[in-house]
C-alpha cells in the first residue's frame, strides 16, 4: 500500500500547488491578503506531503518491492542498504521525484520566512513563481514519470503497468530486480547527484525573489540581501556537485581524466559560471548602488540555465555518459523552460527604464573594474560553452552538414580564459575599491612576481617540467596563491602589532571580524589550488599502454610498473572480479602497488573498469586493466597514466567549501542594520 500512499500524497501536493497558483492569482487580482495567506499555508503543506511520498518510495526501495516498476529497474536482491537508498536517484522517475522534493524544501522558505511589512509586496509574485515551478515538476512526477507504477496481471492474460489496481487484476512480482547500473555503484555517485540537484534547485529562491522584486516594481536591492545566503548555498552545492562528478569520472569511467566536455557536464557548468558572475556583481551593487539591471539579468539567466541543465540531463536529448534513460519529458520541459525564460525576460525589459542608476564605474585600476572584467571573462566562457553545445544544431541549419566540436575545441578557447581568471583572482587583493595607490602596487608587484617565480622553478628542477605554457600558468597560479596569503597575513600582522594579541587569536581575529571577506578569500584560494590541479593533469599528463607478461615492466614518468599477477574471484550474484597487481618502483626503490580491477556483470552484460590509484601531492599514478589472456593468465594489457598535481583539485574544492561556510557564518560585522527593523506579521494586512 506504500505505492498508493506515495502516489496519493504526490497527487495531493500537486493539487495544492495548483490551488496555490490560483489563490495567488486571485489575491493579486482582488488585492487582498487572505488569498495570499491561504496560498502560503498551502505551500507549507506541500513539503510534508512530498516528503511522505518520497519516504514511501525509499521504503519500497529498501524493502525491494519488485512489483513496483521503478524498484524493479534500479534495485536487486544483492544490493546493500546504502545502494538501495541511492537507487532513489539512480533512475529517471526517482531522480525527478527527488528534484521535486528538494524544490518543495527550498520553497518552504517563502512559507516560513517572517516577511517584513515592507517586503510583503514581493511575496505574491515570488509565490507565483514557486507554485508554477512546483506544479510543473509535480505534474511530471504524476503523469509523465510516475515512480509508483506497478506490474499487474489482467484477467484476459495480458500485463500492464499501473499505479492503481485495474479491475480484477492481480499483482505480478518479479523474483529479482535488474539492479542499479554498476557505474552508479560508487561513493562519488552517491553524493554527486544530490549535491548537483541541491545546487540547481537552490537557485529557485534568488530567482523567485528577483521576479518578486521586478514584478512589484521595486528598485532597491532588498531581493539581493534576502537571497544572498541562498545564492551562496546553491553555488557551493553546484560547485561540489561538479567536483564530485569529476571525482566519479576519475575513479569509475576509467579514461584517466575527470572532465570530458560532455554536453551534460557543460550544462551543469553554465549556471555555475553565471552564478559566479552574479555573486561578484551582487557585491558591487551592495557597494556602489549600480548594476541593478545586471544582477537581475544574471539571476534570471542562472535559473534559466538551471532548468536548461535539468532538461538536458533528464530528457536524454543529447547523447552522453549521462544517458542512462531515454524519456518523453523533453517537450513539456522545453515548453516550461521557454515560458519561464520568456516571461522573466519580458518582465525585465518592461522594468528596464525604472532600474536605471546614476552610477558610472571609473575605468581605473580598482576592485570594481577587475570585477567587471572577471564578469566579462566568465560570461565569455559561458557563451563559448553554450556555442559548443548548440554548434551541431546550428551548423546543420546553416550548412546542412552537422559539425561538432570536441574537448580540444573547448580547451583551446577556455584554457587561456580560465588562466586569466586565476590571475585576476590574484591581482584583486592588490587593488583598492577605488583609487588604488599605484606606487605601492608597483612595489608589491616587484616583490610578489619574482617570489612566485619559485613555483615554475620548482616545477622545472624537481618536477622536470619543460612545457612553456604550463610553466607560465603555474607562475600565475603561484602569484595568486601568494597575494591571497599575503592579504591575510598582512591583516594578521597589523592586528598583532596594534593590539598585542596572542598570535593564535590574531590569526582568527580578521576572520571573526569579517567572515565575508575572508570566507571569500578562502574560496578564491580554493579556486586557485583547483586550477593548479587542472593545469597539472591537462598540461602534464603522460600515458602509455603496454601488454606485459608476469614479471615484465614498463616505464612512465620516472616510475617503473612491474606486472606481478592477476587474481580472479567471483562475488555475489555472479560478478567476476579480476584484479591485477602492478608494483611501482622509482630508481629501484619500491614505492607501492597499484590494483587495477575489472568487474564483469554477466547478468547485465556489462563490465566496469576501476583504476588502481596511488596519489600524493605531486603526482597520481593511475593504471587501468584493459585486457588479459583468460587461459594462460600470464599476460595482461594496461593503460597507465601519470597525472601530476591532480590532488590539488580535490584539496582546492575542500577549501572552497570551507570558504563558503565561513562566509555564511552568522554575525558578520558588515551591514547589520538591515536585520534590525521591526518585524510584523503579514496576515491581516492590506496589500499596497
Amino acid at each position: 500500500m506504500m505505492a498508493t500512499l506515495g502516489y496519493l500524497t504526490l497527487a495531493l501536493a500537486f493539487l495544492l500547488a495548483v490551488y496555490g497558483l490560483l489563490a495567488v492569482l486571485l489575491g493579486l487580482i482582488q488585492k487582498t491578503v487572505p488569498w495570499i495567506e491561504s496560498a502560503r499555508l498551502a505551500l507549507l503543506l506541500i513539503f510534508p506531503l512530498v516528503t511522505i511520498s518520497i519516504a514511501s518510495l525509499v521504503f519500497l526501495l529498501v524493502e525491494l518491492r519488485f512489483d513496483v516498476a521503478y524498484v524493479y529497474s534500479v534495485t536487486s536482491l544483492e544490493m546493500p542498504l546504502y545502494l538501495r537508498l541511492t537507487a532513489l536517484w539512480g533512475g529517471q522517475s526517482g531522480s525527478l521525484l527527488f528534484w521535486s522534493w528538494l524544490l518543495a524544501g527550498f520553497s518552504l522558505y517563502f512559507g516560513v520566512h517572517k516577511w517584513r511589512n515592507d517586503d510583503a509586496d514581493l511575496l505574491p509574485y515570488a509565490l507565483l513563481v514557486v507554485f508554477f515551478t512546483l506544479g510543473f515538476f509535480l505534474m511530471l512526477n504524476l503523469f509523465m514519470e510516475p515512480p509508483f507504477e506497478r506490474f499487474w496481471h489482467l484477467p484476459d492474460g495480458s500485463r500492464v503497468l499501473s499505479v492503481l489496481k485495474p479491475q480484477g487484476a492481480w499483482l505480478l512480482t518479479p523474483a529479482d530486480g535488474q539492479g542499479l547500473n554498476p557505474l552508479l555503484r560508487h561513493p562519488g555517485m552517491i553524493w554527486h547527484p544530490p549535491a548537483l540537484y541541491l545546487g540547481f534547485v537552490g537557485f529557485i529562491v534568488p530567482f523567485a525573489l528577483a521576479i518578486g522584486s521586478l514584478a512589484s516594481g521595486r528598485r532597491d536591492r532588498r531581493w539581493l540581501e534576502l537571497s544572498r545566503p541562498w545564492t551562496l548555498i546553491a553555488w557551493v552545492f553546484l560547485s561540489l556537485g561538479l567536483v564530485l562528478g569529476m571525482r566519479w569520472a576519475y575513479d569509475i569511467l576509467g579514461w584517466g581524466g575527470y572532465w570530458g566536455w560532455d554536453p551534460v557536464e557543460i550544462a551543469a557548468l553554465l549556471p555555475w559560471l553565471s552564478s559566479t558572475a552574479l555573486i561578484h556583481t551582487a557585491l558591487l551593487q551592495e557597494r556602489r548602488d549600480g548594476y541593478a539591471r545586471w544582477n537581475l539579468a544574471l539571476v534570471l539567466l542562472t535559473f534559466a540555465l538551471v532548468i536548461f541543465g535539468t532538461f538536458i540531463t533528464r530528457s536524454g536529448v543529447l547523447s552522453s555518459v549521462h544517458s542512462f534513460a531515454g524519456s518523453d519529458i523533453g517537450l513539456p520541459m522545453l515548453i516550461y523552460t521557454a515560458l519561464l525564460s520568456l516571461s522573466a525576460l519580458g518582465l525585465l525589459v518592461y522594468r528596464w527604464r525604472d532600474l536605471r542608476s546614476s552610477h558610472e564605474p571609473e575605468f581605473t585600476f580598482s576592485k570594481e573594474t577587475l570585477t567587471l572584467f572577471a564578469n566579462l571573462i566568465l560570461l565569455s566562457i559561458l557563451m563559448v560553452c553554450f556555442l559548443g553545445v548548440i554548434y551541431p544544431i546550428l551548423s546543420e541549419l546553416i550548412t546542412d552538414t552537422q559539425i561538432t566540436v570536441g574537448p580540444a575545441w573547448y580547451k583551446r578557447i577556455t584554457g587561456p580564459l580560465f588562466i586569466l581568471l586565476v590571475f585576476l583572482v590574484g591581482v584583486c587583493p592588490l587593488a583598492a575599491w577605488s583609487g588604488t595607490n599605484l606606487v605601492r602596487l608597483k612595489k608589491r608587484l616587484l616583490i610578489v612576481l619574482p617570489i612566485s617565480l619559485l613555483v615554475p622553478l620548482v616545477a622545472w628542477f624537481s618536477g622536470g617540467v619543460r612545457h612553456g605554457v604550463v610553466l607560465a600558468a603555474l607562475w600565475l597560479a603561484g602569484f595568486s596563491v601568494l597575494t591571497l596569503l599575503a592579504d591575510y597575513a598582512g591583516r594578521v600582522a597589523t592586528d598583532w602589532r596594534r593590539k598585542e594579541q596572542h598570535p593564535a587569536a590574531a590569526l582568527w581575529a580578521p576572520i571573526r571580524r569579517n567572515h565575508r571577506r575572508y570566507g571569500g578569500l578562502l574560496v578564491h584560494l580554493g579556486i586557485v589550488l583547483m586550477s593548479i590541479g587542472i593545469i597539472g593533469i591537462e598540461g602534464l599528463q603522460q600515458e602509455t599502454q603496454a601488454t606485459l607478461a608476469i614479471g615484465e615492466a614498463v616505464d612512465l614518468g620516472g616510475y617503473t610498473f612491474r606486472f606481478e599477477g592477476l587474481d580472479h574471484r567471483e562475488e555475489q550474484a555472479g560478478w567476476l572480479v579480476t584484479e591485477a597487481r602492478l608494483a611501482i618502483s622509482s630508481e629501484g626503490d619500491p614505492v607501492g602497488t597499484l590494483y587495477p580491477v575489472r568487474e564483469i556483470y554477466p547478468n547485465m552484460g556489462m563490465a566496469v573498469t576501476l583504476p588502481g590509484l596511488q596519489s600524493n601531492l605531486a603526482v597520481d599514478l593511475y593504471a587501468i586493466l584493459v585486457d588479459w589472456q583468460p587461459i594462460s593468465q600470464d599476460q595482461a594489457t594496461f593503460r597507465i597514466f601519470y597525472n601530476p598535481l591532480v590532488t590539488w583539485l580535490w584539496i582546492g574544492a575542500g577549501l572552497l567549501t570551507a570558504g563558503v561556510v565561513v562566509a555564511l557564518l552568522p554575525g558578520s560585522s558588515r551591514r547589520k542594520d538591515v536585520q534590525t527593523v521591526q518585524v510584523e506579521p503579514l496576515a491581516g494586512q492590506k496589500l499596497r
Binding site: 516498476a69 524493479y72 529497474s73 506490474f151 500485463r159 503497468l161 505480478l172 518479479p174 523474483a175 535488474q178 547500473n181 556602489r288 547523447s319 544517458s323 542512462f324 534513460a325 531515454g326 546614476s358 552610477h359 558610472e360 564605474p361 571609473e362 575605468f363 567587471l372 572584467f373 566579462l376 571573462i377 565569455s380 557563451m383 563559448v384 556555442l387 554548434y391 551541431p392 552538414t401 552537422q402 559539425i403 561538432t404 566540436v405 570536441g406 580540444a408 575545441w409 583551446r412 578557447i413 587561456p416 580564459l417 577605488s434 599502454q545 601488454t547 547485465m604 552484460g605 556489462m606 563490465a607 566496469v608 573498469t609 584493459v626 585486457d627 589472456q629 599476460q635 594489457t637 593503460r639
Partner: protein, 169 residues
Amino acid sequence: MSDSSPSANNSNRLKFLIGGGLFLIAVIFMVISATRATAEFFMTVGELQSSGTEHTGQNLRVSGAVVGDSIAYDPESGQLQFLIAHIPGDDDQIKQQGGLSYVLHRAVVDEQNPRLTIRYQGSPPDMLRDEAQAILTGTLSTDGVFLAEELLLKCPSKYEEALPEQVEN
C-alpha cells in the same frame, strides 16, 4: 563616482566599451581559430562512402552499428579493427524506422548496407560488441579506412525496456 560631469562619464564609458570590445574580439578570434583546427564534420557511413575522397584528411565524426563478427584486436600492436554498418544520422528517422536497437540490428543483418572499416590504436572498450552504436572521431585515409582517434559506444540496454522479461513471456 564623484566625477559626474557628462564628458567624464562618456569618456569612461568609451574606455569600458573599447576595453570590453577588444577582449571580445580576441575571444571571437580564438573561437574561429579553434573551430578551423578542431571542428569535426558529422557524416553517416553512406554519405562518406558516396563522397569519394572529398573528405580525406578532414576531421570527421561517423556513427554506425558495430558488426560483431568483424572485431579483431591484436594485443601485440594494440591495434583494433572492426566494421560499422550504415545507420541514419537523424534521430527522428531512427525513431520512424522502429527505434535505435531495431535500426542497429537491421543495419548489421542487412549485408547490402554500406560498411566502413575502422582502425583504432587502443584496446577494445567494454561496450564494443555486436549491434552497439559506435560514434567515432578521426580521419579518412586514402585507402578508405577510417582512422579513429576516439571511440564512443552506446548500447540500447535492457534498462530502457519498460516491462521485465518475466512479464513479457
